[in-house]
């Protein structure tokens, strides 16, 4: 009996901890460092998009994965499907490193099932040496001045593409009101003719080359442009931004829960968490990590200095359930329009 228990225990521990994350979203040596520090056997697998890992998790009921990195609306879905572990904070002492605001995020107040990994805004990224007027409103993108026509890009992903017009019109970024959505659609159809392209991945390179002069961008990605050309600047339009949050979730069906807790706690160490700020140029909700950033870093990338209180003033994208079909349809209508 005792021997049987010992065998099953050793079999369980021999099973590697599986962490799924986007490529390059953690330090390359993070897993090795974690294994060395804790004696665990973790392995990293990669997903390209939230939807890809969600497809796998829903199909397998979360089995086969222990910790996943997903954006907050998807963490919410995992929770609603009963796939996310209810977090035992006693096992995550480093939770104390999070800004108090980061524990009160609307998708998961009190970090019941998710831990924020990175957060930021979506705004306008532009070439200050090329634009005639400094942009300060979403309308500067949606109805660009004559000299900017054909030199702007918008994000291609449904939620952010629609989000720009929702914010411009003063609507919630999660609105499912038909009249409001129709207005958003009409605005974006009108905007389409003024765009250079929809672009999720290379918009900052288009700014660097001068192909585009004003683009809709996530703050962290605008920093990639700023790193190459100091004339590139980022601004949150006066109508506001959404607050995007990428999170860590432990799966309820994890067979390695202790190791999973060890892992998320390890990531929340300021030195480990700070890696993402310094290298991916995303804000992390880790107070000591952010405070350790050198002053000149924040001077070079001003949006790294956006404070948690300001971030909390923006609405988070939430899961909209079946309304997602309406969102996709609107995006198809926009793209099918001439």
């Amino acid at each position: 009996m005792g021997a049987g228990l010992a065998i099953s225990a050793s079999m369980a521990s021999a099973q590697a901890l599986v962490v799924s994350n986007w490529d390059g979203y953690m330090a390359p040596d993070a897993i090795t460092a974690f294994n060395d520090a804790t004696g665990n056997q973790a392995e990293l697998v990669l997903h390209g998009t939230n939807e890809e890992i969600m497809g796998k998790l829903i199909a397998s009921k979360g089995k086969g994965y222990d910790v996943v990195f997903v954006s907050s609306p998807f963490a919410e879905v995992l929770h609603n499907l009963g796939l996310a572990e209810d977090l035992d904070h006693a096992k995550i002492p480093n939770i104390a490193n999070l800004y108090p605001q980061a524990t009160q995020l609307s998708h998961d107040e009190g970090n019941a099932f998710s831990l924020p990994y990175a957060w930021g805004t979506t705004g306008l990224c532009y070439r200050s040496d090329l634009v005639a007027e400094t942009p300060d409103s979403w309308m500067d993108l949606l109805e660009p001045s004559e000299d900017l026509r054909g030199k702007t890009t918008m994000l291609a992903t449904d939620r952010w593409l629609l989000g720009a017009a929702m914010l411009a019109k003063g609507y919630s970024v999660n609105t499912v009101d038909e009249a409001e959505l129709a207005e958003v659609r009409d605005q974006l159809i009108q905007t389409k003719g003024t765009l250079l392209a929809y672009d999720d991945t290379t918009f900052y390179a288009k700014l660097v080359s001068g192909e585009a002069e004003l683009v809709q961008a996530w703050d962290g990605w605008c920093n990639y442009g700023i790193a190459e050309n100091a004339d590139i600047k980022y601004v949150i339009p006066e109508e506001g931004s959404d607050l995007w949050v990428d999170t860590m979730v432990i799966l309820k069906n994890s067979q390695n829960k202790d190791a999973a807790y060890d892992f998320v706690n390890f990531v929340l160490e300021p030195a480990n968490h700070g890696w993402a700020a310094e290298n991916i140029l995303y804000k992390v909700p880790n107070q000591p990590a952010m405070e350790a950033l050198p002053d000149e870093f924040v001077t070079q990338f001003p949006n790294m200095g956006i404070q948690p209180d300001q971030l909390m003033g923006y609405e988070q994208l939430r899961d909209v359930g079946q309304a997602q079909r309406a969102y996709s349809r609107i995006v198809s209508e926009i793209k099918a329009a001439n």
């Binding site: 998009t49 939807e51 890809e52 969600m54 497809g55 829903i58 199909a59 879905v77 609603n80 499907l81 054909g150 890009t153 291609a156 992903t157 449904d158 389409k192 765009l195 250079l196 392209a197 929809y198 672009d199 080359s209 001068g210 192909e211 899961d319 359930g321 079946q322 997602q324 079909r325 969102y327 996709s328 349809r329 995006v331 198809s332 209508e333 793209k335 099918a336």
Partner: protein, 283 residues
Amino acid sequence: MTDRKPLYLMTPALAWLTAFMVVPCLLILALGFFRRGIYGGIEYTFTLENIALVFDPLYAGIFLKSAMIAGLSALIAVVIGYAAAYAIAAAPQRRQATLLFFAVLPFWSNYLVRTYAWIVMLNREGLIAGIAHGLGWGGELPKMLYTESAVVIGLVYNYLPFVILACYAPLSRLNPEIAEASRDLGASGWTTFRRVILPATVPGIATGFVFVFVLSIGNFVTPALLGGGQFQMIGNLIYAQFLTANDWPFGAALSIFLIAIMMGLLTLQTFATERASGARREE
């Protein structure tokens, strides 16, 4: 006693195709008749809703638009490709292999790399604009990249070698004495081409056209990169259902129709080729 050898030899290929082609296609077919779960996933209740949605004017319009772009690309590719194949087949025998080699050479590099090359050439700060400015062109060039024309250019460029190969085969097999006989009987060069050479090479043209059409209509990379995501082809729509909208049943329903169109065309093309070769045998 029948010879069983062909059956044994075909078994591995058939098993492979069944496991990795027929079964997945059947799964897609089944998926098209279920409901989308509230959080993405699939709810296993039967519905015809997804199939009906394909006929919605919005989505039917995207099918039509894709077919037009694919048709235009196939047409241009056939005109350019046939001319090239004709020239290669008319070249001295010893040079033909080299010329064909050059025609297929682009296939040795990655599709994405080849498509990105067009971005480098066509963008507003790109190679063509640079050359035009270098030659003293002062004004701004018309927008070339992120347009429908750019997508057609990309599709034609990428699939042209298929047409060259498809047309070269019948052209090179053509007995030169037939063309000679036609001329001896008083036909002009044009008449010989129109009444003798062209009809004999229709199967090659049909194969080239159908290949380019089928590969183009389902393509989603080229519209995304060269079209700047500004219009959706059916491939992009399907991609979005699976990868961003998390609406697998609708994505599957769209795929069923796309696969049906492709299979229909390939079947027609096979029949056309069979008939043409049958007709020739009867002559």
